[in-house]
């Protein structure tokens, strides 16, 4: 490489990284005030929730070892014991002792049932409400929420995906503009969002002006919307770089005792980051916890995973509540499917995939906690009351936000889609 090019290379690479990191920061030309986006958001329900934190248990969380132990036979529970919770009459697994203390905020969704028994397809349905197709990628729930509700803080992305595979936070046919901004390590915050210390503000300004001058002719000659979107992406990234709201991404700003409460795991710190982001007006944060695919040695693997979930979730609920934010923030725990009631001894007591019946939970966001919705039989293998699908689950989240679940968004190919397909919100949760 020629040394004379060093400068050029740095500038390009810097901007490119900013753009990458800030992908999802609105790229379409927008009105300068936040009023424009906010005015689009007209909740149909007074007291609608404002943000969502979606905790995705990837791999298929065993319902019988976590959320659904009530009235289950010992033969299907295996080594897992039930414990009392802060809500009268509701039991949880001993693997979630801290969450049990926050049960007054939680509604267990014990009637969940899905049609998808493979990971990729199951996660797709859970996060996008449509079954996987070869011809189209449906937008993630977070993309829908930002599209329909608008952003709350124009300086920050509307949808952030922490420790989440970038594909599962993709905006699909809505495009990169609505994709979740990926954060790999919660502790490291938003990557490449700082001006390198070797370049001072004046130089940086000069270089940007130079780039502008060089681009100007190009932009007047070629008026492709894609190119315009791209250059406005730079503007957004620059705004973010210079804005005080960027500190929302920095979990190191938290006092030690709070940071420790969430646990030191990547998931725990992800939950802490989620709270900070929601506090600064981010609409939708997804935090993923993997490793739930316990075909082998279920009774060692689940408690280990559950500890991370327990630390992060309980801290999140407690922290949101005492800040007065829990009624405005819906916290959901979802997974692609459950695991078999049968314990497979040949696999060191493992459990296999079980889509027919599983469990999720919803807390905050205007629901009444300390309850459960839906019921399975005493083996935990069949939903006998209040069956809900992933579409119903997502419709309920949308309802909490006051979104219009009937609003049709056309794909670029002219096909109509809605936020939770034809899911029905469980409105009983809100009474």
């Amino acid at each position: 490489m020629n040394f004379n090019d060093t400068d050029e290379f740095t500038r390009r690479q810097l901007l490119c990284n900013i753009a990458k990191a800030a992908l999802g920061v609105s790229v379409a030309p927008m009105f300068s005030s936040s009023l424009a986006t906010a005015a689009d958001f007209l909740p149909n329900r007074p007291k609608a929730a404002k943000s969502v934190i979606f905790l995705m248990m990837s791999g298929g969380m065993s319902h019988l070892d976590t959320l659904d132990v009530m009235g289950k036979k010992e033969s299907v529970l295996g080594e897992t014991k039930a414990i009392e919770t802060s809500a009268k009459g509701i039991m949880l697994s001993e693997n979630l002792p801290k969450t049990a203390k926050q049960m007054q905020h939680i509604c267990l969704m014990n009637g969940m049932s899905t049609t998808q028994g493979a990971h990729e397809q199951g996660q797709y349905l859970m996060q996008r409400s449509y079954t996987m197709r070869g011809t189209i990628v449906h937008p993630a729930l977070g993309s829908w929420v930002v599209r329909l509700a608008g952003k709350r803080n124009n300086n920050l992305p509307g949808f952030v995906a922490v420790s989440t595979d970038a594909n599962s936070a993709a905006g699909g046919f809505m495009g990169a503009k609505y994709s979740g901004v990926p954060i790999g390590e919660p502790g490291q915050g938003l990557q490449d969002s700082m001006r390198p210390s070797s370049i001072n503000e004046g130089d940086f300004e000069k270089r940007l002006k130079l780039a502008d001058a060089m681009n100007k002719q190009f932009h007047t000659q070629i008026t492709n919307p894609g190119i315009r979107e791209h250059s406005s992406l730079y503007d957004d990234a620059l705004r973010l770089m210079r804005c005080e709201d960027l500190k929302a991404f920095d979990v190191k700003k938290e006092p030690t005792e709070i940071s420790e409460m969430y646990g030191t795991s990547r998931f725990g710190q992800g939950c802490l980051l989620a709270r900070r982001l929601v506090e600064h007006g981010v609409r939708f944060v997804q935090v993923t916890l993997g490793g739930w695919d316990t075909h082998y040695d279920n009774f060692t693997a689940v408690p280990a995973r559950a500890k991370n979930l327990d630390d992060g979730l309980s801290a999140l609920l407690k922290d949101l509540h005492r800040r007065g934010m829990l009624q405005d923030t819906l916290v959901a725990v979802g997974t692609e499917f459950g695991r078999t009631p049968e314990i497979i001894t040949e696999h060191q007591d493992g459990r296999d995939h079980y889509p027919k019946a599983f469990s999720c939970l919803i807390a905050g966001g205007g629901i009444t906690g300390g309850r459960f919705y839906g019921k399975k039989d005493d083996k935990g293998g069949n939903v006998v009351e209040g069956m809900t699908t992933p579409m119903d689950f997502n419709a309920t989240i949308s309802y909490a936000l006051g979104l219009d679940t009937d609003q049709v968004i056309m794909s670029p190919s002219g096909r109509p889609f809605t936020v939770a397909d034809k899911g029905k919100p469980v409105v009983e949760l809100f009474s």
Partner: protein, 311 residues
Amino acid sequence: MIRLGIFLLLFVPPVCAELSFRRQILPLLGKACADCHKAPTKGTDGKVQNPKGGFRMDAPSHMLKGGSDGSGVEPGDPDKSGIYQRIMLPTGHEDFMPPKGKGTPLSFPQTELIKQWILEGANFGDWIGSDIAVAVVPKPGAAGLRKVDPLAAGLTEPAPDAMKKLGSLGAVVYRAGKDSKLIIVAFVQSTSLIGDKEMEHLRPLAANITELDLSDTKITDVGMSVVGTMPRLTKLNISGTAVTDAGVAGLKGLVNLDCLAAHSTGVSDAAVETLKSMKKLRSVFLWKTRVTSSSAAELQKALPGSSVSIE
């Protein structure tokens, strides 16, 4: 460019008077749609022919109800109206109406007329078609969820200029519900730039504000005097501000306040005395303040059914 402008001008439908359904719209629909979308009929071969897609267009109620694929006509919203969506699809599209061989596709001026009619509220005029006492079934979902908020009674529209001004300060401003005159104001963006001076911009909207988020702003007790003039305020967040007991004292007249979040502020037991008289308060958040647990317990007692949390 100019030529394109003229081209568009030629096709702008006449907007002078409201469209007449019977005179201008019905003939179009009759030609393109009525054959397949009518009441079940018995054909010459004796077979019953049901309306295609379960969608009938022979009466207003059926058109409003939609078909098995969803919406038919959504007054005021062409983009949500199935009939408009389908006539606007590319002609080769499988959902395009009328389907190939079943009628002439509508021309651009004709589709614009239909759009205009929907925009104007889809007024059917005196046309009742085959409608004889068929009830319009309201769709579950959005429309069924709307609630009329009694708080808004007697209110005038929020001043648009004042809302715009707040927006320019980085506040999120929106209506509390569809078509509601109540508004929600939240300072979430660059909060360190918001102080007592900016509170003055809330005054013109004081009657309309029902939720206000001032958390982490630089406001003090001085700016809180503006908050005290918001009779419809139900939810207030002053967490992380320098507000003290004196600022909270000014909230005494807010008879509708239901939720107060004031964690990490300078308030103490003296503020609790003020809050005791506010009988509608249901949730109070006082973590990281100087409020003692005994005082919090007293408050919870003074406000039956409330939750006061200091931890």
